[in-house]
């Protein structure tokens, strides 16, 4: 039973670590947009980087998906979905932005 108690504390700590990291990764981009007065371009790069980092944090600490686990199909499914999204979403944005510039 005490083994289970240690395991419980380990998993509880993992959730709280996830919370702390997610808070940091949320507060910094909000702070930059609210107070730092960066140029739009620089702020967008920072927002994108922190969003990606926070998504990884959520996957790791809340959805329990990481590189070390035995069950790789779940991660492969995510990567395949990301590939589909890269083709469809990025392709849409690319084509429409191109069209938009040509119409101007």
């Amino acid at each position: 039973m005490s083994d289970r108690e240690t395991e419980y504390r380990r998993e509880l700590r993992s959730y709280l670590t996830g919370l702390a990291l997610a808070l940091i990764l949320t507060l910094i981009p909000f702070g930059v947009v609210a107070w730092a007065g960066w140029s739009t371009g620089a702020a967008l790069w920072l927002i994108a980087a922190f969003a990606l980092a926070q998504i990884v944090v959520h996957f790791r600490f809340f959805l329990h998906i990481d590189l070390s686990q035995q069950k790789r199909e779940d991660l492969q499914l995510i990567l395949f979905t990301v590939l589909l999204l890269a083709i469809m979403a990025a392709g849409t944005i690319w084509i429409m932005a191109n069209l938009y510039t040509r119409m101007m």
Binding site: Y15, A43, H64, D74, Y100
Partner: protein, 207 residues
């Protein structure tokens, strides 16, 4: 490790819940496939929103409509609800009693409801500024994306309430346990989608 092998995304109940742990592999993986297809829908809604960004047609744009404070509050509430759901998962896995499980679930759903209330208040503020979905391409894109997430949260709250009733009436049977695992994936997934929304729509719009 005492937990045995990891069989599926989300928290694994482990060998202590032998029957539910065995059953969980296929049903949770199936639900994961659904979530990934849902992610494609959200991704395309994001793409649609981004392509419509310049299309304000002389109407209100992001800087006229969005407030950072409200987006921040909603973000914090949804993040808190993700963690309280984590506490519910741990209460289930480590058998901390039905009371603890139901309590954490109730807190999670309450936070979800507060989030929805704030979101609806934002929408009604936007309406009062003449920002209807039919006003411009930008607003169509916005109201295609953000309320889609809100609808997911709404159905999540209903799902959670049904599960709470099942915990009370059926007890923690194997089907109820695996439903809770799937509901957990859904809830955490919605928070991941929200990261995209606050980053692209709110922070991106106000940067």
């Amino acid at each position: 490790m005492a937990q045995g092998t990891i069989k599926h995304p989300g928290i694994n109940l482990g060998t202590h819940h032998r029957h539910a742990h065995d059953k969980a592999e296929t049903v949770v993986f199936g639900f994961w496939v659904f979530l990934m297809s849902d992610l494609i829908i959200f991704g395309l809604m994001f793409a649609n929103y981004i392509t419509q960004l310049p299309g304000t047609a002389g109407g209100p744009g992001p800087k006229d409509l969005f407030t950072l404070g409200s987006a921040f509050t909603q973000t914090m509430i949804l993040l808190a609800s993700s963690v309280t759901f984590g506490m519910a998962s741990l209460a289930l896995k480590y058998e901390r009693g039905k009371g603890a499980l139901l309590g954490w679930l109730a807190v999670t759903l309450l936070l979800g409801a507060i989030f929805l209330g704030l979101e609806l208040r934002d929408f009604s503020d936007m309406f009062s500024k003449g920002a209807y979905p039919s006003r411009s391409g930008f607003l169509s894109g916005f109201f295609g994306l953000v309320p889609l997430h809100g609808l997911h949260v709404t159905s999540g709250i209903i799902w959670g309430l049904v599960l709470m009733m099942q915990i009370v009436t059926l007890g923690l049977t194997t089907p109820v346990k695996t439903r809770l695992l799937r509901f957990g994936l859904f809830w955490h997934f919605l928070d991941v989608v929200w990261i995209g929304i606050f980053s692209v729509v709110y922070l991106g719009g106000l940067a």
